[in-house]
């Protein structure tokens, strides 16, 4: 067994020596030190083994630089006529890392409501176009039920190098699971990346803004304009509009269409955050001690005043409407 030395400076110097970062003087010092005691060489060998062990820890991650370039190119707003990227065979890159996710295989149900301003037609590379009402069957077995006046474009290379689609209108997606290739709904500079196998998307032209709700599973929403992205899990709601361009995220939403909310031992502050986002109202709390209380209740489609009233009763508090979409709990 090799000894331990309390002096960290020695380890710093030996580390530099082993990694070829030491200067001439430092190397000379270590060479002399090695002659002093046989145990010193054993320690150096032992430290070298620690460094080598760490360095041999590698996994292989597949990267497709040309496909990535094509994705980037699509976001760069290059005028027509500029040279276009070409498809290419994926390359394998050794990544010296332990960090790898197991991609999610759980079912995902997502409701996406988008504003008209976010629609983006990826005409450069789209080869298949579907118009509703109809059910589109894609190569990978995914099935997309398009509502009336809805269109879906499937980009070139679908199921071979990517699974990217663009949607205008409303559609229910039933996506085949593929852990190595996430399903991506492209919405201008915003993307909804589904890390699951089944989800629902609805896009309503004319409504300003973006709403993504996850009933179960997990999705990633990416806004390339703001260099912002967020992972949403079950019960989470994301909203964004032109007046408030940053993603606003809240949770405890079981069904956004029915305004079904579910709170279990949830702090009032969190409850109010959810209600504020779902009903687009402001709720002030006059009696701050109320914020320490937790709430155990479910809502299922009540109007805002019914919700505030029920909440006040649960908390043994009073409420008052002080303006348009403005309430006070006291």
């Amino acid at each position: 067994m090799t000894p331990n030395y309390p002096d960290e400076a020695l380890y710093t110097l030996l580390c530099k020596y082993l990694l070829d970062e030491a200067d001439t003087e430092e190397r000379a010092w270590v060479d002399t030190w090695l002659q002093d005691d046989a145990g010193n060489a054993a320690l150096l060998g032992s430290l070298g083994k620690v460094l080598d062990t760490a360095a041999t820890h590698a996994v292989v991650v597949e990267t497709d630089t040309n496909q990535s370039w094509e994705r980037l190119y699509n976001k760069m707003n290059i005028p027509a006529g500029a040279p276009t990227p070409v498809a290419h065979v994926p390359e394998l890159t050794a990544v010296r890392s332990s960090a790898r996710y197991t991609l999610l295989k759980i079912a995902a149900v997502v409701l996406v409501v988008l504003g008209a301003g976010l629609w983006f037609l990826n005409t450069r590379s789209a080869i298949e176009k579907y118009a509703g009402p109809m059910t589109a069957k894609l190569q990978d077995g995914s099935s997309i039920e398009l509502m009336e006046s809805s269109t879906l474009e499937v980009a070139k290379g679908y199921n071979s190098s990517h699974r990217n689609v663009s949607l205008q209108g409303a559609a229910t997606f039933d996506v085949a699971g593929n852990a190595s290739q996430p399903f991506v709904v492209m919405l201008g500079h915003t993307e909804v990346k589904v890390l699951g196998t089944r989800f629902l998307v609805r896009y309503n032209p004319g409504e300003a803004g973006l709403t993504v709700h996850v009933t179960s599973g997990k999705v990633m929403v990416i806004n390339h304009d703001k260099a912002d992205s967020v992972i949403l899990t079950e019960g989470m709601l994301l909203q964004q509009d032109s007046k408030r361009p940053a993603f606003r995220v809240t949770s405890h939403v079981a069904d956004i269409a029915k305004r079904s909310l579910s709170f279990h031992d949830t702090p009032l502050e969190e409850v109010l955050h959810t209600i504020t986002e779902v009903y687009d109202v402001k709720v002030e709390v006059e009696n701050i001690s109320l914020l320490k209380l937790t709430v155990n209740t479910n809502f299922g489609g009540e109007n805002i005043e019914e919700v505030i009233n029920a909440l006040a009763m649960t908390l043994n508090a009073k409420w008052e409407k002080t303006g348009d979409r403005h309430y006070i709990l006291k």
Binding site: A9, K16, V50, A54
Partner: protein
């Protein structure tokens, strides 16, 4: 000003390395890809004003690191992450029980390192970066890198030294 051809070359030349680097911070290749896309898109959008001084790789790595850490902070607020930098572990190979045990020992020891110390160590050993490159990427001095490496090596050695004979020829 950066033209399209130069930018494409810059991207293709560095993409694989950038993904490998970003994966250390994101824990998976998909998020790494998003981070790298964000960084390059930002460079393109600021091509009129951007000026990359020093080695391009250090600039890219530094931008990726900052973006990944900022993303990680936001995600921590919004939703619980399944992993964090340098701690998630799942091997790609079908390892034997003994190898798995040794792997677990190594990772546990790595997890016990202070955050910055672990980051420096992982960049050195798993990205094979020179001290000067780590310093530029993390915006710290080379001296700090040296000290953090010494500290990491002392702690890991103390944790693993009894098992080191078993690590001979050990590939994760």
């Amino acid at each position: 000003m950066l033209d399209l051809q130069t930018f494409e070359h810059l991207f293709k030349e560095n993409h694989a390395q950038c993904i490998a680097f970003a994966t250390h911070y994101t824990g998976n290749a998909h998020e790494a890809e998003e981070i790298v896309q964000q960084v390059f898109l930002r460079i393109w959008e600021k091509r009129d004003s951007i000026s990359i001084s020093g080695p391009v790789k250090a600039y890219l790595f530094s931008a990726i690191r900052n973006t990944a850490i900022s993303q990680w902070r936001k995600d921590n607020v919004r939703s619980e992450r399944e992993t964090f930098y340098g701690t998630a572990r799942e091997t790609a190979t079908q390892a034997s029980d003994q190898v798995k045990e040794l792997e677990t020992l190594y990772h546990k020891a790595l997890e016990r390192l202070p955050d910055r110390c672990r980051e420096v160590f992982v960049l050195s050993r798993q990205q094979n970066m020179k001290y000067s490159e780590i310093a530029a990427t993390m915006n710290i001095s080379v001296k700090t890198v040296e000290n953090q490496m010494g500290k990491a090596l002392r702690i890991l050695h103390a944790e693993l030294k009894e098992y080191l004979p078993l690590f001979t020829g050990f590939l994760f």
